[in-house]
Every structure is written in C-alpha cells, then in structure tokens.
Amino acid sequence: MSGLESELRAAFAEATALLAPSPDLTGRVRRNVRRRRSSVAVGTTLIAAIVSFAFVVTSHPKNSQPSLPSLTGSPSPTGQPAPTADRAGPQVRIPLVKGDGLGPVAVSGSTVYAALSTANGNQLNAYDRATAQLRSSVGLPARQAALAVGADGSVWLSFFPDQKGGPSGIWRLSPDLQKRSTLRLDTPERPWAAFAVLPTTGDEAVLATDHGLATVSLPAPGRAGLSTGKLRLDSAVPQGATPTDLAAFGHDVAVFEHPEISTLNPRIGIDGKPGLVYDVGPAGHINSMAASWVGLWVITNSTADQRGTLLRLDDQLRVTAPGPIVDDPALGEPQTVMASQRTIWLTTSGGHDRFVCFAFDNDKVAKGTIPADPAGKLLAVTPDEVFVAETSGISGYPVPAVCR
C-alpha cells in the first residue's frame, strides 16, 4: 500500500472520529415517512376533490366558463401573486426561560445551537432539532458575540466583555460541545473583539474584529495543536472602517463595513479585493446583507423616508436586481434579509406579511410566508427550515414548498 493510501485511511478515520448520528434518528425517519404518506393521501384526496368539483361545474349548463378556486392565493393589486401562506405551524419549539437573553443561533444537521444570557451567566446550548430537547450546554466566560458552524460540524463562537466584564476570545467546539480549542483575543498582540466569525477551510476562520479582518487557526476540538491569529493586511477594509458582518459568497468573503465617522455610509467589500466595493452613496445606507447561491442580497434604506429596498449584487458587487423583486409590493418594506442556498428570507414591515420567502430562479419569483408571530425575529435559515424567535421560544417552521 502506498503512503498516500495509508494516509487517506488515517485522514478519513481522523476526520470522522467525533461524528455521531442523532440519538433520535430512527424516530425522525419514521415521523418523516408517516408525514410524507399522509401528505400523499391528502394530496390525492385534494386532487380528487378538485377533479370532482371541476366536473360538476363544467357539466352545469349555466356555467359555461367556470372559474376554479385558486390554490396559490389571490393576485395582489399589481397582478402579481401574493405570497403563498404555508399554514403549517412550527415543527419544533425550543422553550426559553422568561428573562433570558437570546444571542446568536446557528443550525447544523440535527442540532440547533443557541447562545443565551441567563441569570446563571452566559451559556451555549445544543438542542435536538426534532425534539427540542437540550442535548448539551457549556458555560461561557463572557457575553457571546458571534456563532457559526463549520463544514466539519465544529462550532465557532466568539465572545467579548460587556458591562459585567470577562475576557475576549474565540472557541472552536466539537458538535456535542464537550471538547474545544481556544484562542484568547485579549492579549497585547491580539487586543480584539470579534463581531462575526466565518469558518473557511480546514482549521481556519475569518473574524470581523474592531481592528479589521483577521484569520485565526484553531486545531480540531480535543486535538493537540497551536492556535494562531493574525490581522489580514490585504483585506478590503479601509482605514477608519470596522467590519461587522461576513458572508461566504462563492469563493469570496463579503464584508459589511461600518465607518468610524458617522457621516460616512456603511459599505460592502470583498476580502482580498480592495477594488470591489458597493456603496449606496449619500442617498441612503445599507441595512442588511446575506449571500445565496444566486447572488449577494442587501437591503438599503433611503435617507429621505427610510424605506427599505432589496437589491441583488453579482460577484463584482454590481446591482443586478431584477424588476420583479424590487417592484414587488408583496415583499413589503424589507428590513432584514437572510439566505440559504437558493431561498431568500425577508422580514418586512408596513402591514405586509412579516416573514416572506422566495426562491429566485431565472428571474421568476414565487413567494411564500409562515404563520409566525409578527413580533418575532428571524434567527437562522436552512434549506428546509426557518427559525424565528417568538415569545414562547425558538420556533422552527418548515420552509414553504414554493420557496425551496
């Protein structure tokens, strides 16, 4: 056997040693099979009912031009279809204790990770996505700031002190939160506060810090190795601006930058490509950013009336928003945007549906919504589930079929 073959065996074994399936895997399989069977049964019944109804209507002599009831909602005043309401309630609801503060939330596979500030301190909890049961919990030394899950399932979490004090640092935890590797960010050479973290490849992640973009490398949780961190001197962030959010955009990292001078506007850049910048100019400012498979989505707000507009940027940060999106009144006044693969989620205001999703495909836009609490807050999105903070806790709603 060649050295490469034996190394492959060792590398495969090492990379997967910590992975374990959900304890409720069999239950989830059974529930999904039953749900699909009942959906098929309901669909068959519905089709039969529609066919019967159509037959009755068309065979009635007084109705030579029958109009069948719409199954996708009535058209909006502009003629565009209104969002399809998916009446399915939440699939899961993770209860929270009244008075606890909910920080960032991330979802990976069968687990929902939520950072909380409780009476007992700050903590990171891992919940079963199907049953909402608490699987594990770990105390944090300071208030959590950013949370993200890498492709290998390891959980990256940054924290820095609030008024209660505490250290600044970043952890990389195993999916079960039982093991971790750490890097302090309050040393003389790294006096940073990390606002956002984006795991990139292998052991590395990009941080958005108050000193600019940084790359950190932390060994896999539970493994020996050196944790390192250094500022990115080649980043797009100019002097006098602070990166506050990051998004994986194709092969690039999109950076949301806030100027330290309040009269200047926030802008979006691409890490390592100083020439690429999107800046809305003095007429408005950028409010929210999310990357999908089909572009970088931003919400800008007009300085004059604070009205929000959804835009799509291409990989050169050029505005390529197609008319159906910008002009669609059903999307209301967008406030925040999140995306997962090809599904884009918006929270809107102005009397429209609070949570609106759409799948963008060749300029065709089909919209959907969920019956979540209008006072809720969008927390995290996955291709098949959207998580919303409601008064009762964290609710996971199925993504409407039209948005997938």
Binding site: L4, E7, A11, T16, V29, N32, V33, G153, T201
Partner: protein, 168 residues
C-alpha cells in the same frame, strides 16, 4: 410494518448509522448535508425494509442508496468549487516510491475538491474498506471504471497537493 420488522430496523440503525453518517460526511464534506443524506436514504430503506432485510447486507444496500443520492444531489446543485476532471491536466509521470506523505488536512481539502465520483471511489475503498468489485457494485459501474476513477483521483490528489510527489 410489523413490530418485528420495526425492531429490526431500529437495531440496524443503531448498529450502522454512525458508520454510514461518517461515509456521508466524507462524500459531501458537510455535516448538515451528510445528516440529510443519511436520513433520506434511511427513509427510503424504511419504506422497503421488508424486502431489504432479506438481503445479506442491508448496510450495503443503504450505502448504495446514499451514494446514488449524493451523486444526484451534486448534479442538481453543482457548486463552483466542483472541478471537472477534464479541466485538470494530469501529471504524466508519477513516482510512487518517492511520493511524500502530505499533511492530512491538506489531503482532506484535496479530496473535497475531487469530482464526486472520484471522491466516492476513495471513500468506499479507504473508509468503507470495500474491494474494487464491491465498490463497482455500490456505484453501479464496471470494475474498470472504478480503477480508472481511482487512478485519476490519486493523480489529482498528487497534482492538487503542493509539489509533493512530482519534485525531482
């Protein structure tokens, strides 16, 4: 499903799901996708369990469904990082005796960049310990295809990894 079949399925999942999840993770490179892949394959298996449990190796049956689903999924959602074998010029001379052993992290990154068919061959051969014939059966192709995919994958890995194996 009868209760004995249901219990049987439960035992199967308890015994094999960890191994299958790990295979799925190596196939997809993403834990979330791996869990989805495994669950989808198990749902298909659950519906046909009465028949699958009669086979000698239900695990092989489920693994085949999983590999097929991974290939289909990859075809549907082809990502920019996926590189076609045709786009890569293979080194013409490989000195297996002199090859250096690359760092494992770099090796895994290299595996993730392989086309899914080649990656599947490596995972089935070096993680699941299948023979060439078993790999061919799982992938639904000939042994010759497995051999050629394997050779290309190994060549690609050496080509992707920095300088090792090709230095003079």
């Amino acid at each position: 499903m009868r209760s004995t079949e249901s219990t049987d399925f439960e035992l199967f999942v308890a015994a094999c799901s960890a191994r299958l999840l790990r295979s799925a993770y190596l196939l997809t490179g993403d834990l979330g996708e791996a869990e989805d892949l495994l669950q989808t394959a198990l749902e298909k298996a659950y519906r046909r369990w009465a028949r699958i449990r009669q086979t000698d190796v239900p695990e092989a049956y489920v693994r085949k469904m999983m590999v097929n689903a991974a290939t289909d999924s990859w075809r549907r959602h082809r990502r920019p990082s996926d590189v076609d074998i045709d786009d890569v010029r293979l080194p013409t001379v490989l000195d297996l005796e002199l090859e250096a052993v690359p760092a494992r992290a770099a090796l895994l990154d290299g595996v993730r960049q392989l086309p899914v068919g080649q990656r599947a061959v490596l995972v089935l051969r070096y993680f699941d310990d299948l023979t060439e014939a078993e790999t061919a059966k799982t992938l639904g192709c000939s042994i010759g295809t497995v051999k050629s995919q394997h050779a290309r994958a190994m060549s690609r890995l050496r080509a992707l990894l920095p300088a090792e194996g090709t230095s003079s």
